[in-house]
């Protein structure tokens, strides 16, 4: 039986934990709003871009299409780009991405493919390091980045393209969480190299015949690298929103659990206090009777 003092200390400590989780929840809520706005602001660009690229790829993508679109003709070496958060305490956010990437890696290895990994975000790296340290080729640290900008995505994309041109891999897949709503984030894998573009449904762009300046091939060649960057940028933004959403609901749960725990501990505290009083009374009464 813990002493009264122990119980009191525990209640105090759980109370301060609750204060912290509550504060983190509110911070996450504020950040979530901003992250969501950023994700929404980037959507028009990505949609237009994909629509144009889908049209271009359909008309110019043939035998002699650029490698970024057609691929190297082999799919022996896979690069998994695992994008996670820089911080923890956000529920299953990081683990769900890592789990998906790990399953994919195992599946590819079982098929006899070569797998390489590139991590974005500290948490994913920490979780994957134990098993896959020797196949990790690069880590992108975004700890210092307060607001994710297009240039972050461009940096990652340029790195990927240089490696691709250098023949380091044939297929690149990114792993991230798609933001569905605060309680649900969906782990997603998306192939970025060779690129695939799906036109938004309802887009009737295909019916218009465009003039291309310079040439279709020329435009395709200039725009494909931006396509990779755009895909990575939207993944980063989705991830940022998901992270805050996951943290918000995780901290909400934690706050509620702390509340329950405080209630339980308080009952236990009152009970033992009464037991102590009863004990003292019994001692006094039996002392008096003995006289």
């Amino acid at each position: 039986m813990p002493s009264l003092k122990d119980l009191k200390n525990r209640i105090e400590s759980v109370k301060s934990t609750r204060k912290i989780t509550k504060a983190m929840q509110m911070v996450a809520a504020a950040k979530l709003r901003r992250a969501q706005e950023a994700a929404e602001a980037s959507r028009p660009y990505a949609e237009r871009f994909n629509a144009v690229m889908a049209g271009l790829a359909a008309s110019a993508g043939g035998e002699d299409a650029p490698k970024l679109l057609a691929g190297t003709g082999s799919d022996q070496v896979h690069l998994l780009v695992v994008m996670t958060a820089e911080r923890g305490l956000c529920g299953g956010f990081n683990s769900s991405i890592v789990k998906m990437a790990r399953a994919k890696a195992e599946q590819l290895l079982a098929q006899g493919k070569t797998v390489k990994m590139l991590t974005v975000g500290k948490k994913g790296r920490e979780q994957l390091k134990r098993e896959y340290e020797d196949i990790m080729i690069e880590h992108v640290d975004l700890t210092e980045v307060k607001r994710i900008g297009y240039n972050n995505a461009q940096g990652i994309a340029t790195d990927l393209i240089l490696r691709f041109n250098g023949g380091e891999f044939d297929v690149a897949t990114i792993f991230y969480n798609t933001f569905e709503n605060v309680v649900s984030q969906i782990p997603t894998e998306k192939q970025v190299i060779p690129a695939s573009f799906e036109a938004e449904e309802g887009a009737d762009e295909g019916s218009t015949v465009y003039d291309y300046e310079p040439s279709e091939e020329g435009i395709l060649e200039t725009l494909l690298p931006s396509g990779v960057a755009t895909a990575i940028f939207s993944a980063l933004l989705e991830n940022a929103a998901s992270e805050q959403g996951a943290r918000m609901s995780a901290m909400d749960n934690a706050t509620r659990n702390a509340g329950d725990m405080i209630d339980k501990l308080t009952i236990e505290f009152n009970r033992s206090r009464q037991a102590v009083i009863t004990n003292e009374l019994i001692e006094i009464i039996s002392g008096a009777e003995a006289l």
Binding site: S42, R48, E213, T222, F233
Partner: protein
Amino acid sequence: MADTMQFDLVSPERKLSSVQASAVQLPGAEGDMTAMPAHAPTITTLRPGVVRVQSPEGDAEYVVTGGFAEINAVGTSVLAERAVPVSEFTQDILDEFMTDAVNARDNATPEMLDDLAKRATELAGVAAELGLNANA
């Protein structure tokens, strides 16, 4: 014939402008062009330069670092890699653009080099035109 068309300027980070415009002057990769309503459908890549928009509500100018423009019967959309209104285009932003352009040039593979080197030079040209100093 309608005398205005829909004009949209979007960058990956945000939508900068969406207005009815009567004419849009674009820094196309193969020379400047002006898109007016009922222009033939065209897709062109852009070089660093200034996009000038004329609309009934007034004119607007934006500095873009590249990207592409899609012109069709309905309107014109510019998808810029980075875009800033000319009035907010300060020395700091120019320096940032220049550093990025120069970094891209220096890290480029030989086959990309021509293109990127040209970009840095063109950006310097834009800066001079707007009375800023590109020291890179």
